[in-house]
Symmetry: C2
Subunit: 376 residues, 2 copies
């Protein structure tokens, strides 16, 4: 919650739900990462919030960009990043998209299997690749599946295959899970990475880089460790596993860069009970799972919600979105405490919504417009 | 799978994932409903697929329209429906949206609590309202929550309140759950509805209508009962509970009207394993949970998938989408059997995708375009 956002909402009074992002907070987050991890290059995860103003600010501050598609690469280029500051970080790429990235000068690609290496070797000869390894994700609030990465033993073969096909086997990446609350979560993956570096060195392949991924949390309801805590834990783990041969490192913050910079303004559309003796109220907002709050899936991310009645007594509510979809319920298994004085028509502010909201928004489900966004 | 769709795909060869909808199938579905339920008015659930061509066809056939928002009302009007053929079927409406619908001449509104009745009474004086009651949804494949509707006992008070505020207490609605496989699912709710009719009649309020909702399935992997089976079961339940005073009835098919009219064309982007001894393959498509296949949430809807290798031996696969989101996995708990000969770059056809796909698509998650749609 920043004074600039409150002032914007009071002055502009936009109709309908909207996200407002304060660029001053994004700047502060970038500088905090850069200060805490001075030897690490920052690749902003564009997918978290690709608003042109956010990308332009980060480009001007010196950030690099982790892109998931050719469209995101084009956005990063348009924001002023040069191709050497962009990685194509999706392990799942069409060969023609790899060719399009190569034509734009992109030199750094993510892989996690031999088939992907072969596509990169054909479509982007000679570029650098890093292999993503699996990580268990314990401690993360957003579920981490086995979708990306391979077992560390397999990564050795993947990178040997890359080198054999004329690519440059450049490093290892992993992801400790989004909204990771455990500052020690990087240790196990760094141990695996060091083992791969060692094995490949014995086979004549010198890796140079470890991509530490994202996972840096933003503050929702619970307090989170500061970036400096993550930095010192990662620094200690790097020294523990790599000794005096610390590789180049990069990080890919997304949520940690923009999450706390944004607030969604919403409106209470209806408050009701299902029977006279119902103990919880149903509170329906004008934004839900399909309007930008997709990360409430399985009630994973629990956003702080401010109302003008905060301070009044609270009772448990089931919180739901405005669409005619019975699955469009935000919090029900663990009801959300809201003021008893909350009324239909009241404005509510949903904090920590700068990341993973606008782009998740459905194009027009139930005829509702996608989430509007103002970058100030 | 229709010859027209196959011909379209072979001739046009669109790049990227897309939905193709065959209007001949929509016409056939409409006529099947109209024939099986000759005394029931059909209100197409616009949210299932609001493509202008679909709405225009249904309007020309005589369909009415169940709309979830003012934007959907405007689409139905633009397609040629008059206001008397449109209901505002969302129980969660902003008062200013009710006023906008009233200004367009809409006379039929859904409610499920007294607070919503009060909004309608203020913003749309004198209109007809129906009260939605809860239904357990047993037998449905898409989860039905308690989000919409109230307990039948409460509906009596809601409709009395409506009448007292100058509205016309017009009927009862319920929803037996989407993709409902049990043709008898309507019986319990019709018993409740008849009870409410009876109680209100004793209090001097004559209800006239039962809205039987949607729930009519489309064929995915399993065979489904024909519409005529649903019709005869509903007819018997109406007679059982209403005797010789059968009310006006309406249905709101969405999935049952357009689901089997559409096919999504997709492409295999990657096939991989996570370790040398992995027993399942990971198959990554260029469409996933955020590109239109949102109904794979919790693996609820299981689409039939056709490949050019059908007939070859099959092995279990984990099916996932193309985004950098670990939650973008379609089928994993119950892996999907696909041909061992399936290769990267192969086209796959996902059947039964005419409903609840395009509008669920995210605006630009990971930079991917929303699902393209061709109505032929």
């Amino acid at each position: 919650m920043t004074a600039r956002i409150i002032d914007f909402l009071n002055t502009r009074r936009p109709d309908g739900p909207c996200l407002v992002v304060d660029l001053d907070v994004v700047r502060e987050n970038y500088l905090t990462f850069a200060h805490a991890l001075p030897d690490t290059r920052i690749f902003y995860a564009v997918k978290a919030n690709p608003a042109p103003e956010v990308l332009a600010l980060l480009a001007s501050l010196g950030s690099n960009f982790d892109c998931a598609s050719v469209a995101e690469i084009d956005m990063a280029l348009a924001a002023g990043a040069t191709p050497d500051r962009i990685s194509y970080g999706n392990t799942i790429k069409k060969e023609r998209d790899i060719a399009a990235a190569f034509a734009r000068g992109i030199d750094l690609y993510s892989v996690d299997c031999e088939a992907e290496v072969e596509k990169v070797a054909r479509a982007a000869p000679g570029v650098r690749v890093f292999c993503r390894i699996l990580c268990d994700g314990a401690g993360a609030e957003w579920p981490l599946s086995r979708k990306f990465g391979c077992e560390p033993e397999m990564a050795i073969g993947v990178l040997e295959h890359a080198q054999a096909l004329g690519l440059r086997a450049y490093g290892i990446s992993f992801h400790v899970g989004s909204q990771q609350g455990n500052t020690e979560a990087w240790d196990g993956a760094l141990a695996s990475a060091a083992g791969i570096f060692h094995t490949l060195a014995e086979r004549g392949i010198q890796l140079g880089m470890v991509n530490l991924g994202g996972g840096f949390p933003t503050k929702y309801l619970k307090d989170i460790p500061g970036v400096e805590n993550y930095a010192s834990s990662i620094d200690a783990a790097l020294k523990r596993h790599f000794g005096n041969r610390i590789p180049e490192t990069i990080i890919e913050p997304g949520r940690g860069m923009v999450g706390n910079a944004g607030i969604i303004k919403s409106e209470v559309v209806l408050i009701s009970k299902k029977s006279a003796d119902d103990e919880v109220r149903w509170v329906y907002l004008d934004i839900g799972k399909f309007g930008g709050l997709a990360e409430t899936m399985d009630e994973s991310i629990r956003y702080p919600i401010r109302t003008s009645h905060d301070g009044d007594a609270k009772t448990p509510c089931i919180l739901a979105g405005p669409t005619c979809d019975s699955a469009d319920v935000l919090y029900e298994k663990a009801p959300y405490e809201l003021p008893v004085t909350l009324s239909i028509g009241d404005e509510v502010l949903i904090e920590g919504t700068g990341a993973y909201t606008t782009t998740y928004s459905a194009v027009a489900f139930n005829g509702f417009q996608p989430l509007a966004s103002y970058i100030i």
